[in-house]
C-alpha cells in the first residue's frame, strides 16, 4: 500500500530546528492494521500527517500505491487523499454547526457524488456504527464515544482504503475506547488498512504490527503472531 524511504521531517521556526522524523523507513501492506507507539513528542502525529498527506516530508520518498507523492503539491495530494484516506482524531473534530448526518456527509461532499447516493451511503454507515437514531443531533448533544463513532463513520463513508487514526481513544473512557477499537477491527477485517497512533498497549494489541518511534527514529517493529 505505501512505503516510506529515508523519510525526514524538519520543523524550522525562527530560533530552532526540530527534526521530528529522521530517516524513517516503513512499509505498510494493503489490509494491514498497524499501531504506532512512542513517548510524547517523538513524532507520531507528524508521521501520521505525512502518511495522510496533510503535510509533506522535508526529504525522502513516500511511495503511495506505487506513486512517489513526496514532491506533490497541495492540490494533487488533496485529490489522492480524499479518494483513499479517512481520518479519525483524538478530539473527534466534528463541525459544531452541523448535525451528525451532515458531518458524515461532509466526507462525500467534495467527491461529486449525487445527493441521493450521498444520503444512502450516510444512512448505511450510520447503521453500521450504530448512530442512526442520533442522525439529526448536533455534536454537542452527544457523548464522547458517540462523537468518535460519528468520526469513524465519516472516515469510512467514502469507501476509503486506508484509515489513519491519531489517538482515537485518547479522550474516551475504557468502555467507549474498546467500542471504538472493535469498530476499527471489524473495518480491518473487511479489508480496510488501518494505521493508528496510541499510547495504550492494550489497544495496540488489536493491531497486527506495532511500530515504536523514539525521537524521530523507528526503534522496533513488533509483529504480533496471527491469531
Amino acid at each position: 500500500m505505501l512505503k516510506l524511504h529515508n523519510l525526514s521531517k524538519v520543523y524550522r521556526t525562527d530560533e530552532v530546528e526540530t527534526a521530528a522524523l529522521n530517516s524513517v523507513n516503513i512499509e505498510i501492506e494493503s489490509g494491514e492494521f498497524v499501531a504506532i507507539m512512542g513517548p510524547s513528542g517523538c513524532g507520531k502525529s507528524t508521521l501520521l500527517n505525512i502518511i495522510g498527506m496533510l503535510d509533506s516530508p522535508s526529504s525522502g520518498d513516500y511511495i503511495f500505491m506505487g506513486e512517489n507523492v513526496a514532491p506533490y503539491g497541495e492540490a494533487k495530494l488533496s485529490n489522492i487523499r480524499k479518494q483513499h484516506i479517512g481520518f479519525i482524531f483524538q478530539s473527534f473534530n466534528l463541525i459544531d454547526e452541523l448535525s451528525v448526518e451532515e458531518n458524515i456527509e461532509l466526507a462525500l461532499l467534495y467527491h461529486n457524488i449525487p445527493a441521493s447516493e450521498r444520503r444512502e451511503r450516510v444512512a448505511h454507515v450510520m447503521d453500521k456504527v450504530g448512530i442512526a437514531h442520533r442522525a439529526k443531533h448536533m455534536p454537542s448533544q452527544l457523548s464522547g464515544g458517540q462523537q468518535q463513532r460519528v468520526a469513524v463513520a465519516r472516515a469510512v463513508v467514502g469507501d476509503q482504503a486506508m484509515i489513519l487514526a491519531d489517538e482515537p481513544t485518547g479522550n474516551l473512557d475504557s468502555a467507549h475506547g474498546q467500542e471504538v477499537m472493535e469498530m476499527l477491527q471489524s473495518l480491518n477485517e473487511e479489508g480496510t488498512t488501518i494505521v493508528m497512533v496510541t499510547h495504550s498497549p492494550a489497544h495496540a494489541d488489536y493491531a497486527r504490527r506495532t511500530i515504536n518511534l523514539f525521537d524521530g527514529h523507528v526503534v522496533t517493529e513488533n509483529l504480533r503472531a496471527a491469531v
Binding site: 502525529s45 503535510d55 481520518f87 463541525i95 459544531d96 454547526e97
Partner: protein
C-alpha cells in the same frame, strides 16, 4: 479600579489593531461627514438672521394665474407697489424699498466695462444694516448721482486708492451720467439672499421711457422688501392683499372677466424664510438659494453614514465579545458586579468613539475647504462654539453607547462557570443573527445610495443630451447687441459676421435658449361663442432664425422678405383706428391651445392681439413649427408665438462650423473693430443649456462621494467580520480540507456566507430606492423612463457584491490556503 479599566481598555485597543483601526476609521469618517453636513445645515439655517430687524423684514412676491396655465410665481413685484403699499397700509407698513438690478456699461476714464449694479430706494438704509467703511450711505442713496459700492468692487476699480469722491460714468438705456462714489460698505456676508456689488438711488424720472422698470403695473422687475410698524402682525397685511390688488390693478384685457385678484395674487415672505423656501428654490433670486429638500437629504445621508459606522462598531464588538469571555469570567469570579462590567464596556466603546471623533475632526479640517467649495460656501469649524461642542459630545455619547450597549450586556451576562469550563467560547445564535441583520442594513443603505447616484447622474445625462427640438451644437449667441452703443451698428455687424469664414448662418432673437425670460401675450381666438382669450408665450426673431436653429416647419412657410406683411406691426408707429394686419408663426402647443385641429388646419386662421400703445392687430398664421424646448429643458413645453419684429433683439445667434475658438476670435475682433462702448460677450448654446443642470450634476457628485464613503465603511466592517469569522471557523475549515475540500471550495464557502446578506440587502434596497427616485424624478417633466431604474439596481447590486467579495476574498483565500493540521493540532 478606574485606572485598571483604562489600562485594560487601552491595551485592548492596541492588542486588536485591526479591530480598533476599523472602528476608529469608520467612526472618524462617519463623524466627519456628520460634522461637515451639520456645518452646512447650520449655515443654511443662518441666512438673513443677522439683520437687526431680521424678524420684521418681509418680501412681496407676485403670483400670476393666467387662465389655462400653471400659476407663474415670481419673487418680485411691480415698481409702483412701493408707493401703493405705503398708501394702502399707512398704519401698518413702516418702510418699503425696491431692488432692481440692471446691467450697465461703465466707463472709468478711457476704459469701458460691463457690470451689474443695483438700483434701490433710500429706505434700504432703514431696513438693512450695512457696515459702512467710508462715506455716508444715507446721503449716497438720497442722491441720484452717487454710488455706494462694496469693498471688493472698490478694490477692483480703485485698488488701494481712496474710492470716495471718484467718478464712474454709467450708461443704462438712454441714461448716461457721472456717478460719484459716495460710500463704501463691507461686502455683505454670504449668508444673505441679497447680493449686489453696488447701489444707486432709484430716480423714477431717469427711466420714464422704460416704464416697465419702475412705473408700470404689468412688469415685475423689483424685489420689494418692507418692514412693519411695531406691534403689527404680517397676517393683517396678508388678509388685505387681494383688496390691495383690486384697488391698484386693472385687468389688462376686459375680455378675460373677473377681478384683478383672480389673476394676480400677492404674498408676503419673511426674509428668513427665503433661503430655504419650503416651496423649493425659486427662479429669479439675486443668487441661487438653498433647498430644504437638499438640506434634509444631506442630513439623512450623514445620519445613515454614521449609522453604518455605528453598525461596524456594534458588530465587531459583539463578534469580539466571545474572545473576551474569559476576561469577563475571571473578573466575575473575582467579584465584579454586572453593573461594573457594563460600565467598563460602555466606557471602552465611548473611548473608541472619542478617539474616532478626534480623527474625525482632523478629517474635517483637511476636507472642509473642498467640501465648502463644492457646496459653494465658506464653512468654518469653530471649536469654541458651545453648541458645536455639545452636539459633538452628544454624538460621541450616542455612538459610544449604541456601539457598546449590546456587547456590554451580552458579555456581562456570561455565566463564568460555563465560560471557564468550555474550552471554546461558542457564540449565541442571537448575536450572530443580529450581526447579520445589521450587515444587511449597512449594505441596503449603501446599495440605495449607489442607485440614487446612478439615477441622479442618469437624469442629468439624459436631460443634457435630450433633443431640444433644435440643433444646439455649433451654435453661439453673441450678447448685448441691443444695448445702446451696439444697437445702431447691429445690422451691419450681423451682415459682416455672416461673411466671416466658418459662419454658416446668423439670426437675431429677443431671447436665447434657457434664458428664463417669460413674455406672454393675451391672444383672442375665434371660437363658437365668439372669441376666446388665451395666454401664449412669445419670442421675437428675424428671418434667418429657424434656419440658424435648424428648426423645421411642420406646416406652412417660414418668414420671408418677399412678404411685407410678415413683419409684426408696431402699435406706437400706427395711426389710431388703422386696421393692422400681419403674419405669424406659432408652435404646435399654440395650435393646440388655440383649439385648431392640426398644424395644417391652423394655417390661414386669424388671431387678434394688442401690439402696444392700445392698438390691436389681426395675425394670420402662416407657419407652424414643432414644440421646441427653447425656453427651458427643465420645464414643460409651452405654447409659443414667434413674431418677426426687431424689438428687443439682444442676441445674435451664430451657427458655425469648424474650430469654435477661431470663429469666436474672428467675431470678437469684428465686434471690437465696430463697437467700442459695449464689451463683447458670448455663450455656447449647449453650455448654457447644460448649466441648467449644474445643481443635478453637483448633487450626483456629492451623492457619489457619500455612496462611496458608505460602501467603504460598510466594507471595512465586513473585512473585520470576515477576519473574525475566518478565525472562528479555522477548525471547521481545517476539517473540511481534511475531508477533501479544495481551496476553491473553501473560498466559495466563505464568499457565500458574506454574499447572502448582500443579496438580501439588494432585495430591501431596491424597492426603497426605486420608490424614492421615482418620486424625485417627478420634479422633471422630461425624465428617464422608470424601467431604467431596474438595470441601475442590478448594477448597484453587482457593484456591492463585487466590492464585498473583493473585501472578503483575500482573507478567505489566505484562510483556505493554510495547512489544516495547524488548525486541528491543538484542540
Amino acid at each position: 479600579m478606574f485606572q485598571n479599566y483604562i489600562n485594560v481598555a487601552l491595551r485592548n485597543l492596541f492588542k486588536n489593531k485591526l479591530y480598533s483601526a476599523i472602528n476608529i476609521i469608520g467612526l472618524a469618517v462617519g463623524l466627519a461627514a456628520c460634522i461637515m453636513i451639520m456645518l452646512f445645515v447650520r449655515d443654511e439655517l443662518s441666512y438673513d438672521r443677522f439683520w437687526s430687524k431680521a424678524d420684521n423684514i418681509y418680501r412681496l412676491n407676485t403670483t400670476f394665474n393666467p387662465p389655462g396655465r400653471e400659476p407663474f410665481v415670481t419673487v418680485m413685484a411691480q415698481g409702483p407697489t412701493k408707493h401703493a403699499l405705503k398708501t394702502y397700509f399707512p398704519e401698518e407698513v413702516e418702510h418699503v424699498t425696491r431692488f432692481n438690478s440692471m446691467r450697465v456699461v461703465m466707463q472709468k476714464e478711457q476704459d469701458v466695462f460691463s457690470e451689474i449694479l443695483m438700483w434701490t430706494d433710500p429706505e434700504t438704509v432703514d431696513i438693512f444694516d450695512f457696515d459702512v467703511v467710508a462715506g455716508d450711505l444715507r446721503r449716497t442713496l438720497n442722491d441720484n448721482a452717487s454710488l455706494a459700492i462694496n469693498e471688493t468692487f472698490a478694490r477692483k476699480y480703485f485698488g488701494e486708492e481712496d474710492a470716495i469722491g471718484q467718478t464712474l460714468t454709467l450708461s443704462v438705456y438712454s441714461l448716461k451720467r457721472d456717478y460719484r462714489i459716495g460710500a463704501v460698505y463691507k461686502d455683505l456676508p454670504h449668508n444673505t439672499v441679497l447680493e449686489f456689488q453696488g447701489m444707486a438711488m432709484i430716480d423714477e424720472k431717469d427711466f420714464v421711457d422704460q416704464e416697465w422698470e419702475f412705473t408700470q403695473w404689468f412688469s415685475v422687475n423689483n424685489y420689494v422688501y418692507f418692514t412693519l410698524k411695531p406691534g403689527v402682525s404680517v397676517e393683517t397685511i396678508n388678509q388685505r392683499l387681494d383688496g390691495f390688488t383690486n384697488q391698484f390693478i386693472e385687468i389688462p384685457d376686459a375680455a378675460l372677466g373677473g377681478q384683478s385678484s383672480d389673476y394676480i395674487h400677492y404674498s408676503t415672505q419673511p426674509i428668513t424664510d427665503i433661503q430655504l423656501d419650503p416651496a423649493g428654490a425659486r427662479d429669479g433670486e439675486m443668487k441661487a438659494t438653498g433647498d430644504m429638500a437638499t438640506v434634509i437629504t444631506f442630513s439623512a445621508i450623514a445620519g445613515l453614514i454614521l449609522v453604518i459606522a455605528c453598525i461596524n462598531f456594534m458588530n465587531l464588538a459583539t463578534a469580539k465579545s466571545t474572545q473576551r469571555a474569559r476576561e469577563v469570567a475571571l473578573r466575575k469570579v473575582l467579584g465584579a458586579k454586572r453593573r461594573q462590567l457594563v460600565t467598563q464596556f460602555l466606557g471602552e466603546s465611548v473611548l473608541i468613539a472619542l478617539i474616532g471623533l478626534v480623527f474625525g475632526v482632523v478629517l474635517v479640517e483637511v476636507m472642509l475647504p473642498s467640501f465648502g467649495g463644492f457646496v459653494d460656501k465658506e464653512l468654518t469649524f469653530n471649536y469654541l462654539d458651545p453648541l458645536t461642542i455639545s452636539i459633538l459630545l452628544g454624538l460621541v455619547a450616542i455612538v459610544g453607547v449604541l456601539g457598546g450597549v449590546y456587547p456590554a450586556l451580552i458579555l456581562s451576562g456570561f455565566r463564568p462557570a460555563y465560560v471557564l469550563k468550555a474550552n471554546k467560547s461558542s457564540e449565541s445564535t442571537g448575536s450572530a443573527r443580529l450581526r447579520n441583520v445589521l450587515v444587511v442594513m449597512q449594505f441596503a443603505i449603501s446599495i440605495a445610495l449607489i442607485v440614487s447616484t446612478g439615477v441622479v447622474y442618469g437624469q442629468k445625462v439624459y436631460a443634457t443630451n435630450m433633443d431640444p427640438g433644435f440643433n444646439k451644437e455649433n451654435l453661439i449667441v453673441v450678447r448685448n447687441t441691443g444695448r445702446s452703443g451696439a444697437i445702431d451698428k447691429r445690422d451691419a455687424f450681423k451682415e459682416q459676421v455672416a461673411r466671416l469664414p466658418g459662419v454658416k448662418s446668423v439670426a437675431f432673437s429677443s431671447d436665447a435658449p434657457a434664458s428664463g425670460n417669460e413674455s406672454n401675450n393675451t391672444v383672442r381666438v375665434p371660437s363658437e361663442e365668439g372669441e376666446r382669450s388665451v395666454l401664449i408665450g412669445s419670442h421675437r426673431i428675424d428671418y434667418e432664425f429657424f434656419d440658424t436653429y435648424e428648426i423645421p416647419m411642420l406646416a406652412g412657410r417660414a418668414y420671408s422678405r418677399e412678404y411685407a406683411l410678415d413683419v409684426s406691426p408696431n402699435g406706437f408707429a400706427a395711426e389710431e383706428g388703422a386696421l393692422l394686419q400681419s403674419n405669424l408663426i406659432v408652435n404646435e402647443g399654440a395650435v393646440r391651445r388655440f383649439g385648431f385641429a392640426s398644424p395644417q388646419d391652423a394655417i390661414g386662421k386669424i388671431v387678434k392681439m394688442g401690439v402696444g400703445n392700445g392698438r390691436q392687430a389681426e395675425f394670420t398664421i402662416i407657419g407652424v413649427i414643432p414644440d421646441t424646448k427653447f425656453q427651458s429643458v427643465r420645464e414643460v413645453m409651452r405654447p409659443e408665438m414667434y413674431f418677426l419684429a426687431p424689438y428687443g433683439f439682444n442676441n445674435l445667434n451664430v451657427r458655425y462650423e469648424g474650430n469654435p475658438t477661431e470663429v469666436v476670435g474672428r467675431i470678437e475682433a469684428l465686434w471690437k473693430s465696430m463697437i467700442t462702448e459695449v464689451p463683447f460677450a458670448y455663450d455656447y448654446v449647449d453650455d448654457v443649456m447644460a448649466e441648467e443642470f449644474v445643481r443635478e450634476e453637483n448633487q450626483s457628485i456629492l451623492l457619489a462621494i457619500f455612496a462611496g464613503l458608505a460602501v467603504v465603511i460598510a466594507c471595512l466592517g465586513l473585512y473585520g467580520l470576515a477576519s473574525f469569522t475566518a478565525e472562528r471557523r479555522t477548525k471547521e475549515i481545517g476539517i473540511r480540507k481534511v475531508m477533501g475540500a479544495s481551496v476553491f471550495d473553501i473560498v466559495r464557502l466563505l464568499l457565500w456566507q458574506f454574499s447572502k446578506p448582500v443579496l438580501l440587502a439588494n432585495l430591501i434596497a431596491w424597492p426603497i430606492a426605486i420608490w424614492g427616485m421615482l418620486t424625485w424624478l417627478e420634479n422633471f417633466p422630461y425624465r428617464i423612463e422608470a424601467w431604467v431604474l431596474l438595470p441601475l439596481c442590478l448594477v448597484a447590486g453587482v457593484i456591492a457584491l463585487t466590492i464585498a467579495w473583493a473585501t472578503v476574498g483575500g482573507n478567505a483565500a489566505r484562510v483556505a490556503r493554510s495547512n489544516p493540521i495547524d488548525a486541528l493540532r491543538y484542540e
